[in-house]
Symmetry: C2
């Protein structure tokens, strides 16, 4: 498999995207090209042996070759002529803003570059936690109850404490707090509003069971990962999640009964639907009183959840062979020609 990893981006998760890309370098077989998008919107071709985190934090990457986005791919621009970069399918590994909010999807669609990753609609619906809830409701999947608060709204939670406060549009637990009593609320909201004008409040359910499943649909075939019961902690803070993005070692399958396993997998498929075609996603579920609740959808999971798959390289290769195609639209100017020839009273005036 010849493919390229696109990472970086102007996002709070810029750094974990770098860490994620380094992790994938370790686990992916085949020829890999590394394309870094810096926070200023410039693309760089990173030599494989420079794929170390301090290459980026030091700014050394700026000495690497610049790439220009063109129709169908990237070009290395020379003084006299430009050469096309041969990179195969692109893997969108930009976590958080730009990568997961639909910007990169739209950019790659517009420039007709084939890619693995969520499309625009899928990005928007998973990046905004409120929209994820509306989507889940629309497909008959339950989520935790919530309250939406805009900056400036009265700070009155409708749930009893403890509650969890989350910026609406960030991943990786950034700006997320558990609030155990009223006195802690203002600080938690101030933190969350640092990142977004909208905040989601949910009741915090102590000791809830958590299960993660990753997977994709390659044509008609489902490839689902093993189910992980992530390490129990109050919640993952950013440092913890950060290390999580570096994961390359396989995990144990959760010790659950066949019914729950099958229910989790069916719920995953329902969420994935046709919306996430072209992407390998991870769904994080809660199980409360025997009922499955969707907690969040990671359309570009940390290190692509490689550690959950038996054959990660094979899974990506299969997905790559089944990327969604857009219907080509070629305007034939039929209407303009018709109106031109009829010299209609309204359009005639534009001649």
């Amino acid at each position: 498999m010849k493919s390229a990893i696109l990472f970086g981006g102007a996002s709070y998760e810029h750094e974990i995207s770098i860490v994620s890309a380094i992790a994938l370098k370790k686990v992916l077989k085949g020829a890999l090209t590394f394309i870094f998008l810096d926070a200023d919107g410039n693309f760089y071709l990173i030599p494989s042996d420079s794929m170390k985190s301090n290459h980026f934090s030091s700014g050394d990457y700026k000495n690497d070759e610049r790439l220009t986005l063109v129709r169908g791919g990237f070009e290395k621009r020379g003084l006299l002529k430009s050469r096309r970069l041969e990179h195969g399918t692109l893997l969108n590994l930009i976590h958080g803003a730009e990568g997961e909010d639909g910007t990169i999807a739209a950019l790659l669609d517009f420039f007709k570059i084939p890619y693995i990753g969520p499309r625009k609609e899928a990005s928007v619906l998973s990046f905004n936690k409120w929209l994820t809830k509306l989507y889940a409701e629309g497909i008959g999947v339950r989520t935790v109850d919530y309250q939406l608060l805009r900056i400036g709204d009265a700070r009155e939670p409708i749930f009893g404490y403890p509650i969890i406060v989350k910026p609406l549009r960030l991943g990786s637990s950034i700006g997320v707090s558990i609030v155990r009593k009223a006195e802690e609320l203002d600080f938690a909201l101030d933190v969350a509003f640092e990142f977004d004008d909208e905040v989601l409040i949910e009741p915090f359910i102590e000791g809830i069971e958590e299960y993660n499943v990753a997977g994709c649909k390659a044509g008609e075939e489902w490839i689902l990962s093993r189910i992980e019961a992530p390490q129990k902690k109050e919640y993952l803070d950013f440092d913890q999640k950060y290390l999580d993005f570096a994961r390359t070692e396989s995990v144990q399958t959760a010790n659950i009964d066949a019914t729950l396993e099958s229910d989790l997998k069916e719920t995953f498929k329902k969420v994935y639907g046709s919306l996430f075609e072209g992407a390998l996603i991870r769904c994080d579920f809660f199980v409360a009183s025997g009922e499955i609740l969707l907690n969040e959808i990671n359309p570009i999971p940390g290190s692509m959840a490689n550690y959950l798959f038996e054959d990660f390289s094979g899974t990506l290769a299969q997905l790559e062979n089944h990327l969604p195609r857009k219907r080509p639209i070629v305007p034939d100017y039929a209407y303009i020609n018709k109106v031109q020839s009829a010299k209609g009273p309204k359009l005639g005036s534009d001649r």
Copy 2:
């Protein structure tokens, strides 16, 4: 007001975008730059006196100056040096795919070009008619009952005839049919599935009252248009809507009582919310048994619904002064530096 109109695009509504741009040339005061995006993804600078529909249908536009999208705007590329095009705020006037589906929004966001038009989330939620319904439900606005059908699903409407069949993601009535009896269903679905893999079925309500309102929020100020009761027809077919996009003459305010007028305007504001900030949109409402239903949101209405406003140029100028700003994100590499200095067991291995 110095601004640029971006029109064209790879969409079934490519032609009506041209017609829309020609209409705006007539009604907008101030210096205007015309930037045409052809169906192959190339940008052209169109001289003002070439803004005639046959300039595009004939392919003559290809002799105009090519533009390249760069950070902050467009460049005219010369053999020896490139010159920046001074164009002011861009008005996204690309109807349908690309313009209204979030592609152009993402592109302009990525290249940091200020624009009037729906942002990514707003685009995705209004372009996909199912998502519009989920959004409306989420904000407490009613819509017509519906059934979602995917290509390959059993063709069994849950409503009695007549019903209306719509491709999920197209505007301007393309692919839309009213089905009055079972024998007509297959053909209508075949037509709709020509355009999208998903189709929406709604009961068709004869003689329902229709009202259109356009507007925007400029800072804290709402600018709402007069309310129009569009000409009663079974439904607007594409030819009809096409002429609609060329509209430049003011319309009469609908003859409705003060309560309904105020209710329609309040519903418009609820729909616009914070989601559509930066855009001038038109909402099409139904009123059935005294209840307001949202029919559709046009985040880039034909000829920008100029004919509904008292002072259209002034409205756009005000909106231009209140475009939403993105929070700048500058990665400080704090985590990488921390991990580098700690030489953590997992990340150390990437050195």
